[in-house]
Subunit: 326 residues, 2 copies
Amino acid sequence: MSSQPSGLDLGVIRAAGVRIADKITRTPVMRSSTFDEGCGQRLYFKCENLQKTGAFKARGATNAVFSLSEDEARRGVVTHSSGNHAAALARAARLRGIPAHIVMPDNAPRAKQSAVRRYGGEVLLCEPTLAAREAAARQKQLETGAVLVHPYDDLRVIAGQGTTALEFLEQVPALDAIVCPVGGGGHLAGIAVAAKALNPRIRVIGAEPAGADDAARSLKSGRIEASVSPKSIADGLLASLGKLGFAEIQLHVDDIITVSDPEIIAAMRSIWEVMKIIVEPSGAVGFAAALKLAPLRWGLTIGVVLTGGNLDLDHLPWQKEREGSS
Amino acid sequence: MSSQPSGLDLGVIRAAGVRIADKITRTPVMRSSTFDEGCGQRLYFKCENLQKTGAFKARGATNAVFSLSEDEARRGVVTHSSGNHAAALARAARLRGIPAHIVMPDNAPRAKQSAVRRYGGEVLLCEPTLAAREAAARQKQLETGAVLVHPYDDLRVIAGQGTTALEFLEQVPALDAIVCPVGGGGHLAGIAVAAKALNPRIRVIGAEPAGADDAARSLKSGRIEASVSPKSIADGLLASLGKLGFAEIQLHVDDIITVSDPEIIAAMRSIWEVMKIIVEPSGAVGFAAALKLAPLRWGLTIGVVLTGGNLDLDHLPWQKEREGSS
């Protein structure tokens, strides 16, 4: 029996919510009167940067690992990721007491490798190409029988990520819109399915770096458009849109707004300065996009998902910018 | 009639709590399993860095301003401060609709000056000496009749700061100890009075930079010891211990632990990396000291007050350190 659900709906996401409730953080929602006065909206920030492992990825990975049958679980899990999914899967596997094999490109930051090891995951280094990563993961699967938990093209993962919206709408039922960054599309898809089921009138809006805008182009054209050498400071959003996520995004997402790297950096810095919390560049993309909603209509109640807070504190983007411009 | 209470006790602090309740943030308490595992204690962090104006100073300033009689209030308030008290007083005055005159040294960071102006306060620049600051404040008092609200040597302010402990013990009744940074001593004094009244067995511990250790020396000798050219990265804790605060500290504080600048910087960075929230160097001094409690006894439930989160994001202390050592 497969642990994959046959489709995605509110019931599947609610089941994920029950499954992971005591294993993740019910993240707080924060507000800022400074931001509200500045943009003429009521902004509510869902702080997934304060989630376990520092990113929403803990939701999907934990749901996937705890969806496994005893038979599947025994063999462990495997994934390839250089980012937040890696640590999230390692942590979930440790909670269940099973092995996690994490394929990472050999140029992945030391800090990300250590995070995986700290959670007891096995790090397998490979060349920094998608082909090499997929091959290494497949090889490990063959050797061990471990279950592949893809970072986003996996319904168990998407259902887990969707629990962000369940919590958010419990915490702030009156949201007119939710804005969430989109990379591979799993988080946005899960949120869109849950939010629209709970409130068909809510607007669900993706936020994407202009330099990695394959989701925006795909939503327009109606088919998955290739992501060709994406480039953005928001390194968590460079992945190509997944098939499963895109199907839901087409059905349920109202719009995808793109933002430039300077807009992302300014949004990130504002959050640090005003809200006193750490978001990574990818994590601030939703806020950057929400600021562009302002001209549309004033006085909306907008939910912004801050997706993560993991970054190298020795190299902050505004410093890179300054160095680059000098 | 003076707005100064005749003394400090739980009743006065509770009255302050009622007075400011709808004007400040009931700040969240955060935990980290990473920290708990690392130090063998249960640490609870009271996040005054997430307070209005980014620091606990909002409590005392708001209590002082809203303690004023109509007659006093009409004439406005005045203070001298280069730090978090300045913005806090300006904000409180705006909430009450009265003028605030803030004397700042002319080398105060632009960001701090702008914060005061953003809240509608009048910034009066003077030479960067204590004598010049006090003279300028006195001059303004004479001209306008404005009420001086000292940053810490003021019972209205100390009572307001003490509300941190009321909230903290409501949120975590089982605290064995509270650790709080000490500069001028108002926050520590208010917390000590409130906490000991609510639970006589609780330990209240001050945390002070080794380079500005006048409070530790004073507690030992039993009289206020001069602070001679204090020097620390924790720029919010360089003030000399106040008379009113010291009286309470002598009665109610169990110990003052000093920490080095490298310990402060390491503590601050850990909070950023693990908890994903911004604390300024002074704000992290309590955590640095709490880590030194570990050898005393394990398994304690320790409350750590993170006092503020305002700093220049272009110049982070670990970068200064690196630059300095290269």
